[in-house]
Amino acid sequence: MTGAAGLERGYRRLLACYPAWFRSEHGEELVGVLLAGARDGQQRPGLAESASLLRSALGMRLRPDASPAAGQGWADALAAFSLAGPVLLLATTVFAAVAWSHDLGPGRFTTLLGLPGFWIMLGFQVVLAALVLVGLRRAALVMTAVYLLAICQSVDFLILPFHLWSPQEGVSLVAISVCILELAALLGSPGPRRGRDLVHWGYGVVLLLCAPALATQTAVIYLILPRHPRVTLLLMVIVAAVIARLARAFGLSRHFRLLLAALACPYFLNMANWVFGWFWFDLDYSQWLALLVAGPALAAAIALISTVRPRRRRII
């Protein structure tokens, strides 16, 4: 192997760190420029050049605004959510199960793992996540509807024994919220296959932050709220603000960020209820639950209507 061939191979290895769309658009051109700028007799990429390429590739993956696939509008946000939603739900459940795997003693909540129906719930979530990851839109739609019905049937059983929020109730609430948005996402968008074109590393990083944030919210409220309600609210606002800022910095579309914000609505509503002592005129649990998921339901409705309306205009 000659030195030039080795150098080119080295550059191409570094180029592999860039997103596929960038390689196909600029790959050959970039290799040509790198080789033209190489020193006589240079056999491998220099350290500074390599670092620059890696930094540039990482930036491109985390904030691919220039990507021709970068989606805009509700349809693309829903397509991305149709893929990301079930994965986020599964990750949240796993985080909650691991974080709250020890019984905290008398008067505290039981562990998620010991909850009757936990493994069935986890099974539903694994199957749903698998369906969207392989891109089976219709099967995922049926699965989401079945799961939503099942969890609504069991939610009374899950939450009745607890006066304050517990991880069980929290996970159920995340599941209901995600399922409502997922139904809209699967109905109002091309589905998870289109989502695969849109989702990039930035989405993964933000979802990895959202999952533990969602998983710990209810327990944070349960443990800290009674003594330090305003501190808890402040913590929630800080966490939400940090995630929102990162989501923007990593190039997640505005509409997708609104869908994520809708997932946080029930927590803030419940928190405000406790901090300000609203108690909503003594609503019963099912009414209170309906009010809690009103945020995600409203977001789903707005997104769905926004994707249907332009189609009608085109037909006319």
Binding site: E29, L30, G32, A48, R55, S56, G59, D65, A66
Partner: protein, 110 residues
């Protein structure tokens, strides 16, 4: 609405394309020349910037050619790119004029 100040690398890239279309390596050498050797763009940085500038429709592809089996793509300024560069040059010039005038007042320079 105010326009954000342009980064120096962006300003130099647009300046390199102001007179004629150039390919990637040509832009790198020209930027080095324009800046008196002070700014040496790395290829990764250049193509990130070129991609962003294309997205903002400040530059566009002029033509492509194959040299020694390698693709060479030439870029040129769009009318919007020329206007943006002219506005930025005027802003820098106004700032520089003000700075020099005040230095003269203070007796800093002759």
């Amino acid at each position: 609405m105010t326009t954000r100040a342009m980064q120096e690398a962006t300003f130099l890239i647009l300046t390199a394309l102001a007179a004629s279309a150039q390919h990637g390596y040509g832009i790198i050498t020209d930027v080095q020349h324009i800046s008196g050797g002070r700014v040496r763009l790395r290829a990764g940085t250049l193509y990130t910037a070129l991609d962003r500038l294309r997205g903002e429709e400040l530059i566009e592809v002029d033509h492509e050619e194959v040299v020694d089996t390698r693709l060479r793509r030439y870029y040129r300024l769009t009318p919007a790119g020329s206007a943006r560069l002219a506005a930025e040059a005027a802003r820098l010039q106004a700032n520089a004029t003000t700075a020099l005038a005040r230095l003269r007042l203070a007796g800093g320079i002759g």
